[in-house]
Symmetry: C3
Subunit: 311 residues, 3 copies
């Protein structure tokens, strides 16, 4: 999330009543998750295991629950509960505001685009030219669609990330303030969900085509000209490079990367990166030829065991 304008460190810290360490001129321009941060951003960290990662990330302000040594050119904001205070900042800059009109007054739709009956467009949604949004699609606040985008019926674009911190006796929700960006020439089948980014953007690259019932998690980046068959599930913070094909019911764990032109076969369950151009298969997924050898060998196993027992 970009802030509406650059803020000074001390002003941000005072919004959440925290001490801070850093120069008077230290400027904050946005806030984001550790996976997505850039210079100017606040990142939060509340576990020593991840301190180094946060301190050495591109973020220039670290909201942290311990006074540690501050890296040169960066700033710290010290909070007893960085998760809570990060959420407070998000809510400050993006106050609760549910549009109760079916098409929000701040939604902008290209003149040549067709919005069919029952469609809901939230605050600040923008839709380019020559799009077709089929009946009963829901697009949450702040999502952006390019030109020539087709969204089939009952899709939900921009629902909240599935992201909670476990407290002693409840799950504390990370407030999602990111967006979904859908580039030109994308077609999305009926009944798909594409969650908004937690603080960044979930993106679907130009020319990508998605079949029905597909789930794309928060902050996931899908490249250009990818294909996803029906019922594929992609968790959050996944990177899918250009020209990737995911076949039916394949599932992808969070925080993996699929290289350019790679293929994930039907029902595969991916928990690791795929290099460019490779085909993976199985659950857990591995390189397809090796997996197919396993399938063939497994067919021979009952007989093999019987023979070994007869010896």
């Amino acid at each position: 999330m970009k802030l509406p304008s650059p803020y000074k460190l001390k002003d941000i810290a005072s919004l959440i009543n925290c001490e801070f360490e850093g120069g008077n001129d230290h400027v904050i321009t946005g806030m984001n998750e550790i996976h997505m941060v850039e210079a100017g951003d606040i990142v939060f960290v509340d576990h020593p295991k991840y301190y180094d990662k946060a301190l050495q990330s591109k973020a220039t302000t670290i909201l942290i629950n311990k006074k540690v040594e501050c890296p040169a050119g960066k700033a710290l904001i010290v909070s007893d509960d960085p998760f809570r205070d990060y959420n407070k900042l998000v809510r400050h800059f993006q106050p609760v505001n549910y549009s109760l009109k079916q098409i929000s007054e701040t939604a902008k739709v290209g003149k040549t685009s067709i919005i069919m009956p029952g469609v809901y467009l939230g605050n600040n949604v923008t839709i380019g030219e020559n799009c077709v949004i089929h009946p009963n699609v829901v697009i949450y606040d702040n999502c952006h669609l390019g030109n020539n985008v087709i969204i089939h019926s009952n899709c939900v674009i921009g629902a909240d990330a599935f992201y909670y911190k476990k407290r002693a006796d409840y799950f504390d929700k990370m407030i999602s303030c990111g967006r979904v960006i859908i580039e030109d020439d994308v077609e999305i089948g009926a009944m798909c969900t594409i969650d908004k980014g937690v603080s960044g953007d979930t993106k679907i690259g130009a020319g990508t085509k998605i079949d029905n019932h597909v789930q794309i998690g928060h902050d996931t980046q899908v490249g250009k000209m990818c294909l996803m068959a029906s019922q594929v599930g992609v968790a959050g913070v996944v990177v899918i490079e250009d020209g990737v094909a995911l076949w039916g019911q394949a599932g992808i764990r969070s925080d993996v990367r699929i290289g350019k032109g790679a293929v994930l076969l039907a029902q595969a369950g991916l928990g690791e990166d795929i290099p460019a151009g490779k085909t993976y298969f199985g659950s857990p997924a591995g390189e397809a030829r090796a997996k197919m050898k396993e399938v063939a060998a497994l067919k021979m196993l009952p007989d093999l065991i019987r023979k070994l027992n007869e010896k």
Copy 2:
């Protein structure tokens, strides 16, 4: 289903033109499926294989297709077709009544709750305080939501159970007359379905968080503070105890129980109970460490077979 008031045995029997056996004072207060019955309930049974289970259940009235010995303190109603007559009783006490208003006149919504555009609330739906029901959610008749519940767009709460009896040349539908009960602080992602109970309630325990595209079958009981990732499928009559985590695309057969704090990993297919605290994996699912050993062993199998053949 509770009857609107206590009924006498002979009055219920006369509604379906059946003979009965039992005391003049025998009282019926509800009707339910064998998995969910309590004292006062009617249960139905039409196969000798299940006679004993029905007769010895907590149900105090048995709608049965044979005159058998009646257990002490219980009653029998003898029908040539208990399934048909059970349905007749359901329809008598819950006549067909589709509300054609978008928000039924008998729906009750807490003052601090937000009902967004396109939401449908059926007859007798109740929604507590501080809830957000996102656009185009559908809540069928008689469902109850607690406080602080968030339902994301296009969810369907309370559709009919997938429950049919095979007749000679058609499937005979069990009429669903149960409800869905969603306790406080539950959040449900976009595009989820939670079916109503057949005659009892499907329940989602307080604080549970559910991701997109999840299916929960009829009469399933989900405990408190569970997590379910996207595209999980839970069949009917499943019991999920508190603090359970189900990861993406996992599937659960009907009538199993998952113990407190257990974990079912992504894409697992569960056909048996999981004890408390255990982690399961695979399809069919088993204890995760054993299954991971199988995965590792399978990787070695093609080479093993090659070597054995070379001997």
Copy 3:
């Protein structure tokens, strides 16, 4: 797709500015995909690998990208881009026409049927008697429902086929002009998608019952009295004969056939035909007893490898 009336070969060819070969009296009555063609139809083919199949199919007019020998009694239309020109013909006979009314003026609904709030019915949709269409269901243009059909909330019937031709730098969409035909006594759970045929019909046979979140691809033929559990995914151009049962989360590749009364167990991934009456299991799926032996053998494999290593 049937043409509105029979056309002469030369008139069709002139619509797309192509040369043709065939008799003056050669008549064209429809157009369809290679899997579904009948006498009178145009079929298109643009790869030498499939020339013979197209030329020998039941289609009597072949839209092809090379002048080949024309089979007796048939006709050729020669195009530099048959895919593009097939789409042109589709668009000519079925011009873009999105109905922006919630219930199209050309939709026909039986008097005893109930259409609940938020339902969208496209152009030329027909719904028989005694149907219930639950809230927020979307039915695209030209779909037909028989009598006693129940469609639960948020289903999408008749969205476009997931069918693209890969061009150098984009995916070229095959325009879907087919329909969905749902026969009598079918019940479809919440959140299902049934895609229209590309040029033919997707069909759900009488008495079939489908649970929530099921995907049925374009041109698939489902027989009578089938059962499909939740989250099943069926690709396009699949043939499912009568009385088949597909259990939860099973997936089926395009262009396979499942014989009468066959069963596909939960989470199975089917890539080949199943003969009538057989039960299949696993991913990739095979005959269930053989697969269960593999599962049992795999459980013994880690110990077997350990013992062999100890020798």
